[in-house]
Subunit: 128 residues, 2 copies
Amino acid sequence: MTATYTISELASTYGVSTRTIRYYEEIGLIKPERNASGHRYFTKKEKTQLQLIFRGKKYGFHLEEIKEMIRLFDEDPTGREQLKRTIEYGEGKISEVTKRIEELQAMKDEMNHLMNEFQKELNQLEEE
Amino acid sequence: MTATYTISELASTYGVSTRTIRYYEEIGLIKPERNASGHRYFTKKEKTQLQLIFRGKKYGFHLEEIKEMIRLFDEDPTGREQLKRTIEYGEGKISEVTKRIEELQAMKDEMNHLMNEFQKELNQLEEE
DNA sequence: GTTGAACTTAACGTTAACGTAAATGCTACA
DNA sequence: TGTAGCATTTACGTTAACGTTAAGTTCAAC
């Protein structure tokens, strides 16, 4: 089994261009294998990594930051020291994400507050 | 009272360049007043708008999207129809933000999970 | 009243993240 | 087996969001 995909299959799956996926390889985000004649083929691994990329982008991470995160999810670090460093790095990333969540929440609260004000105004107008 | 600020004061306050602030005026995000000789001065209003801009940027909104949000927070819409439209637009933005929060949370959970795995591995290594 | 720091506009430069075009090679199928 | 529709690399183009001169003006302090 272990299905493989062509570049245009994945591109249409994720609604991006093939150029985009090639670019991600260009800058080292993914490293798809090639067949004898040089055509890329993608496996489950690359699919997962692409998902991480698109997610990360949505949250405003740069591709370079995402690259670090891919490395984090990819290399399983054996050895005490490597494990410790990885955990430390991961904790840092997690608190970044946590902070973003909190700030986004603050923004949402602010917007909700404003909308409530507007709603009140509207109610005033409607009930007369 | 009603304190005013120069461009460099605000720039240093928010840790950006004066060029950045001028650029935001250039594309219509803010419209600071000018004194007799053409120098910009900024009030509470512009400070608030700048905060919104920097926040929005952190969350991955483009300046054009932020422009819309500033308009939302700025123009207080009088009149039933305008109020309704504004509320509708605002609700849309709020659900966008909500969605981002949820996805970020999913990402955080995933990262936490991975870190737990690593931590387990580390514990195995340490306790032998 | 001069000097240096801070202001102004104008315009060209830069980087990330692709888009697009050209020239060429592979692959599937009628 | 030919050809339509995929793939490949190379390389230049584009857009957003500023950075960076340059050349001149104004403010603040002495």
